[in-house]
Symmetry: C2
């Protein structure tokens, strides 16, 4: 009943006008306990009730896409500081049963510490990327997630984007795990270190990782704050 009302309301306000409605959805990646995760919401209403969906919402008039992004991200997830990039716009007329909604999809990368500090985990949850049941994803969000994942791979191959998903300090082994996870292949330790260090995108902090029962690893940090094109692999 409630969902029917909302649906009607939606249709009346928006689809009586014969123009497509604009929305914005966000694919948020993070690394939690060493594995790639997505920040997804559980849809509470029809259509697609009970599925996992991307945090998103209708676009407001009078503010830029980026401001709409910030607004929607905050309202739907509580998260404030992320690396964001526009991904693609999806506009199949049947992608939402309520009517023709064109969505501008973004993807975002967030350091897990920031995520846990700011995210409202009653509204969104962390889902491991690899154990995600793709049949449980609502609307066309599976397609959007796949598109975002592909873009993420490319960005790891060709830029220093990794800085946006790693914590402030990290060991070279941790960095290598992240690359292996994203690129989906094993890398040679010596070659990886040689390549990464030759790119001069990270530097030693002078500190050591003391939380392990073996030889402590040097901690590194990224030099740059800006996205740079570097041919990593």
């Amino acid at each position: 009943m409630q969902s029917a009302t909302i649906q009607q309301e939606f249709t009346k306000n928006i689809f009586g006008l014969s123009i497509p409605v604009l929305a914005l959805d966000v694919v948020i990646f993070t690394i939690y306990h060493g594995v790639l995760c997505l920040v997804l919401a559980k849809r509470e209403k029809e259509p697609s009730k009970g599925t996992f969906i991307l945090p998103g919402g209708l676009m407001k008039v009078g503010i830029s896409l980026e401001e709409n992004f910030d607004d929607i991200l905050l309202r739907k997830t509580g998260i404030t500081e992320v690396y964001k990039e526009q991904l693609y716009s999806f506009g199949e007329p049947d992608r939402d049963t309520r009517g023709h909604i064109v969505t501008v999809a973004y993807y975002a990368l967030v350091d897990n510490d920031v995520l846990l500090r700011t995210a409202d985990l009653t509204r969104v949850q962390l889902i491991e990327y690899n154990s995600l049941d793709t049949t449980s994803i609502g609307f066309d969000h599976k397609k959007i997630i796949q598109y975002a994942h592909q873009r993420l791979i490319w960005k790891f191959e060709y830029t220093n984007i990794a800085m946006n998903i790693l914590p402030k300090q990290f060991t070279l082994s941790e960095l290598q795990w992240v690359y292996e996870m994203i690129l989906g292949k094993e890398l040679d330790k010596r070659n990886f270190r040689k390549k990464i260090l030759s790119l001069e995108m990270i530097q030693e902090t002078g500190e050591l990782d003391r939380d392990s029962s073996n030889r402590p690893a040097k901690l590194y940090e990224f030099k740059d704050k800006e996205l740079k094109i570097v041919e990593v692999f």
Copy 2:
């Protein structure tokens, strides 16, 4: 007078609703007489009257972005067969003085023969990319064009996209000119030929270019019809 009426009409129908309106604009590249050109329209009405603008239009409800693209391209330019790719969506609230219009920008590549056969040259014109006076470009279309040009460069570096802007048959020298023009740098003839031939994306047609007063060049054609990732440079 006429433009005021249209503007009012526009405002009344669309901006009373407090949602952004969706449009689609296209950056069309072609090569005419060996130089990179854009297909632009001259804006006849306010705002931005008298400037060059991208062919574009409002998005229709109920059809996909690609169908909207085909529809707008045909209505605004007459052109039917192009290679197209979504570029980026632009949504600054002040990008159009009539109200908040979010545009999904596409870029397209078209072979000059197809262009001249189909384009309605009373509505659009060919403008050399390099001699384009950027102050004469309306709305935020200069930004969109620059974005498209950057994308084009990347595509030439990493894919066989060149096949979509060259005629069916071409000489290796012509192909090299196109690459030099797009990439903005000179290439060594021997290395270029070696690289291109090793990529196996083109093949000899067996025919020769007989319209010159010197040694006739072999004519080549592209093997593939699909976009392929190839590291050209």
